[in-house]
Amino acid sequence: MLTNGARLYVDHAHPEYATPECTNARDLVVWDVAGERIMAAAGRRAEELLPPGHAVHLHKNNTDGKGAAYGTHENYLVARRVPFGLLTRHLLPMFVSRVALTGAGRVGSDAEPAAEFQLSQRADFFEAEVGLETTVRRPLMNTRDEPHADPDRWRRLHVINGDANLCEVATLIKVGALLLVLRAVEASALPEPLALADPLAAFRSVSRDTSLRAPLELVDGRRMTALDIQESYAEACADLVARDGAREGDDLVLRWWTRLIELGRDDPGRLAGTVDWATKLALIEAFRARHGLGPTDDRVRMVDLQYHDVRRDRGLHHRLAAAGRVVRLTTDEEVERAVVEPPADTRAWFRGRCIARFPEAVVAAGWDSVVLDTGGEALVRIPLDEPSRGTRERVGDLLDAAADAMDLVARLGGSPALPGQLA
C-alpha cells in the first residue's frame, strides 16, 4: 500500500496498480494517471539495478499480441438490493457498446474473424456472458463479489472487460459513464434493457468496426449501432441527472459522453486525440504511409506497443500529450500530488496518511483495515469497513495532531475493537 492509498504489487508476472477508492470519475482519472507516473518511477529505479545497456519497458496495455491478455479491472460499489440478473441485463449492452469510445486499439486478432486492427484489446479473449473466472473462459459480466465493505449494503461490481486507457477523456468516460448507468439502474431510471441477440459476437463485431456503423442485432429484431446504444444510455443518464441533481463530475462526464457520440457519428477519425483506438489508428495509418508497411508488420506492432509505454519521454501517447495533440483533463501538478496523497473524501485518506505519518508502525494495510504496532502487547487493528469514512474531513485533524501511532489509537478511542466505528 502506498501513501496515496493505492496498492502496488506483482500479479503473477506483471506489476499491477490499484487506485485508491474515489468518489467520482474525475478523481479516478487523476489517480489512474498517478499510477502511470508511479510505474514509470519504479521502472527507472529498477533500471538502476541493471547492468549498463539494459532498460526496463513498462506498457499500460492489455495484450501481448500473442494470445495472452491481462486485465484492467474496474470496481464499483452497487446497492445490494439491485437484483444481479437485472444488473446483468442492463450492463451487457453497455459493456459491448462502450468499446466504440473506450477501446485502447490493437493491431491484429486472436479470434475469428481475423482483423488487422481492433478497437478493443480484450474482445478476443471473452468466451462467456456471465461467470466468476478472470483468466480462462472470461465472462463479460464477472461475478466476483468481495465488496471490502458492508456486504448487506453493497455488492462489488468487478468489471474485467475494459481496456487500459491512456487518453484521459477515455478513462473519464469508461468509468464515469458506467457510474452514471449504475446510479440509473439503482434508481430504476433506465428503459427496458436492450437485449443483444448475441452479446459475445457483438463484442467482437464492435471491436472490428472502425466505421462505428455496424448494426448489432437485438433479440426483438431491431438493429442498433454501438453509438445508438451508447446514446440511449447517455440520454437516460442525462434525464436522471436533470431530475435528481448532478453529483461531482457528472456534468463533465455527460458533456464529453454526448460529444464523443456526436463526433463518432460524424467521422470516427474525429475521435483521434480523445479516444485511444482512434488516436492509435491515425498514428498507424500515417506511419504505414511513410514507410510503406503492411497492416500487421512488426514495426506497426511496435507502434502499437510503444503507444502504451509509461515513460513520458518514450511512450508515444505521452509524447502526443506533451505536444498538445491529445486532450488532457488533469494538470501535472495535481497528478504529482496524487502520486503521494490520497483522495480526501474516502477511507483512502486514513489509510494513505497512516502510512505516510507512521510508516514504521503500520504492520499491515488493506482495503478495509490498517493494523498498527503501537509498541503495546497486541497489535491494533483499525477497521475501515465503510469506504465513505476515514476522510480528511472526519479524521484529518486527528491524524495531523497524533504524535505517534499509540497517540493516534488513543485519539481514535483507544479500543482495538472499533468495527466500523472510525470517525
Binding site: 474525475r26 491478455a69 491481462y70 453529483r247 461531482e248 464529453w256 512488426d298 511496435m302 508515444l316
Partner: protein, 64 residues
C-alpha cells in the same frame, strides 16, 4: 470540492484555459496529425531500432 469548480475554474493557469477549449470543440489544442512529418520523425526516433526482435520477445506469462 465542486466538480465544475475544479475542472474549469482553476482557470488562471494556462492549463485552465486550454481545458475550456477542448470541452467546447471536443478537440485537443493541436490536431493529432498537425505537422505530421515532425511527428513521424519523433516516432521513428522513439521506436526500438530492432522492432522485429522487440515485438517477438514481447510475451506475457501468466496474469489475468
Amino acid at each position: 470540492m465542486s466538480g465544475s469548480g475544479r475542472i474549469g475554474g482553476e482557470g488562471t493557469s494556462e492549463r485552465g484555459r486550454a481545458e475550456e477549449e477542448p470541452l467546447v470543440a471536443g478537440r485537443p489544442p493541436r490536431d493529432l496529425l498537425d505537422g505530421v512529418d515532425d511527428l513521424l520523425d519523433e516516432i521513428d526516433e522513439v521506436l526500438e531500432e530492432n522492432a522485429e526482435e522487440f515485438v517477438r520477445g514481447y510475451v506475457q506469462k501468466g496474469g489475468q
